[in-house]
Symmetry: C2
Subunit: 147 residues, 2 copies
């Protein structure tokens, strides 16, 4: 945890940004909730527990900044709020989402199944893939059992 924060601190400083108390508190919340897909509001409420003075605007600004630095990934599941996922150490994101339309649960496939497709795009379409996003909507294993 400390190592990851240190690393991000250096990433910030190399671009002329500062690691403020608020930014560090926000990062810690993100690290502690790595499995979730928190909205800015969610992050705000959690950070408030440690740093009550923080403002919502700061959280938005921090998340936007971390997003530009590819520390977090900004996601949109179509429910009207942006959600933020911490990326792994390489700042890569190679997982896909399984969104259950019955219970609303969201699971992840932590593998990258798209490399062959990205290859195909390069060859057949001349398109260089930098990032991708793959979500599946359907019925999760638990809900399937309930039927």
């Amino acid at each position: 945890m400390e190592a990851r924060i240190e690393k991000i601190k250096q990433q910030l400083q190399s671009q002329g940004y500062k690691l403020t108390l608020q930014r560090e508190a926000t990062l810690r919340v993100l690290l502690e909730h790595e499995a979730d897909h928190l909205s800015a509001e969610d992050v705000f409420l959690l950070v408030k527990e440690k740093a009550p003075e923080i403002g919502l605007a700061t959280v938005y600004r921090t998340l936007e900044l971390l997003s530009e630095l590819h520390v977090v990934e900004k996601l949109n599941f179509g429910d009207g709020v942006a959600r933020y996922d911490l990326r792994n150490d390489n700042n890569q994101h190679h997982h896909h989402h399984l969104i259950c339309i019955k219970c609303g649960s969201m699971d992840e496939v932590k593998e990258d199944w798209l490399l062959p497709l990205e290859e195909k795009l390069a060859v057949e379409y001349g398109f260089t893939v930098i990032d991708h996003r793959l979500d599946f909507q359907g019925i999760c294993a638990a809900c399937n059992k309930l039927e």
Copy 2:
């Protein structure tokens, strides 16, 4: 065109909805711009040319309704506006998006590359896929040439 409208009319009526002038004008705009990814505002302006009395709220309500009926697909490319795509006749959508981060163009791959993955999900995860979404961000062929 008429046939598709007739079909959608029946789909509406079978659920107790009416095909009003406004809804028909909206459908015609969507049909005429099938290749685009129009926002509600875009649709509103285009419909206004044929039916000047229409209100923006009606366009939103119509698009929402058509989305529930799976006539259109509501998309979100992360630019703060929802966009709407007409689905094909089976109400299936089997295409993927190529979004260029240089020029902002959006291309489509009109094939479904995910069937093998959906099979894998069913077997390995017990997850029944109903719908999916796949977008690639990267550099398009045209921008690649300019380099």
